[in-house]
Subunit: 194 residues, 2 copies
DNA sequence: AGGTTATGGCTAACAACGTTAGCCAAGGAG
DNA sequence: CTCCTTGGCTAACGTTGTTAGCCATAACCT
């Protein structure tokens, strides 16, 4: 039996692409094997389990997102950086819904080194955005959680079709970024003049 | 064979409770049947499928959340209402992770009447919160999406253990509510004085 | 009360899916 | 070249969701 020349990375990449096409939950080991020209049991020579596969897709997604953020934030600060980070993140989720879905878990997970490292890199980029706002140290963690919640929540709701076609979603996103920018500039420096 | 006296509502309630205990994805038809004292195939006399069951759990969750919001918002306006809505929503998610998970879908779903109606009720409550802020009509949809994104995102990240024990999560939430309040008071009335 | 109909249990069976065990051949190392 | 490793495969198994059909319970009607 001639070897298909697979490697773990190729398996994960194919699974990620398939996830983006048909949705993560519809990626069966059988479907993936067919895409790669082998039989399902052969996949276990390259990944441990379906759970392992999903974890690896998540690492890939966060790595790609981290790269995109690093690139998108080059030479930007303040509102530019905030907007760039927000749009980068949203663009990634819109373009790779299956990949992103692998990073989403409601159930508690044990931290894996590659996953934690990739996730930390994404957080670092968001931290850099906040650093440009002169946020007080004691507020930084709160602001960070807010940014993450908002970006994640928006992406997930949008991907789920949660926003009806009543208004331009891009416009809403721009409005939200403006809102964040204003609040971060003023709110963390004390009360604005009323 | 004596009848267990089940009804669709009882089946859904039991499934929802079980989901909150063990996580939605761990609720198998077999596990639920055992909880109810019947065999798995018998469940199909009461619900159409597992997907139908999940949809019904989602309706239950949104109905309960809608009730909680209605109650929590009674006699409140402005920041009080905002805080009440935010804490109500978060409290619901924390207390019923399995139920809430049923409302979360990355895949596009056909709108079901009961689900849409229950969801609309939750949105109406959030809309009422915004109405107390004198938000300009053209901004209302954007502000609404922001609120939903933030609350949803925060709840999901928290439930997934996304916030390490570096700082008090309640404190972050309070900070975020303050941020929103300030922004909604000032941001929608023009630029604050710099 | 008795007979008929509707319905809710059950078991057996099936399909789909993830996974393991073991065989065999391809490919790499010495 | 020989030997060892590894990556394909098939067969098989366990789990899960679901369907078909049987039988008994419960509801309804006379």
């Amino acid at each position: 039996m001639a070897r298909a020349g697979l490697a773990p990375a190729a398996v994960v990449a194919a699974a990620a692409d398939l996830a983006d096409e048909v949705g993560l939950s519809n990626v069966t080991m059988g479907l993936l094997a067919g895409r790669l020209g082998v039989r399902a049991p052969s996949l276990y020579k390259h990944v441990e389990s379906q759970a392992d596969l999903h974890r690896r897709i998540a690492v890939l997604a966060l790595t790609e997102l981290g790269d995109a953020l690093r690139d998108g934030l080059q030479g930007r600060a303040g509102k530019d950086a905030l907007a760039a980070a927000a749009w980068t993140m949203r663009g990634y989720v819109v373009g790779h819904p299956g990949r992103y879905a692998a990073t989403v878990r409601l159930d508690t997970e044990e931290p894996d080194d590659p996953l934690a490292a990739a996730g930390a890199r994404v957080l670092d980029s968001l931290g850099a955005v906040l650093a440009g706002y002169d946020v007080e140290e004691r507020d930084a963690i709160h602001a960070m959680r807010m940014l993450r919640s908002l970006m994640h929540g928006f992406a997930v709701l949008e991907a789920a079709g949660g926003f009806q076609m009543e208004a331009d979603v891009d416009e809403s996103f721009t409005w939200i970024v403006d809102f964040l920018d204003r609040g971060l500039r003023d709110g963390t420096r004390g009360r604005p003049a009323v």
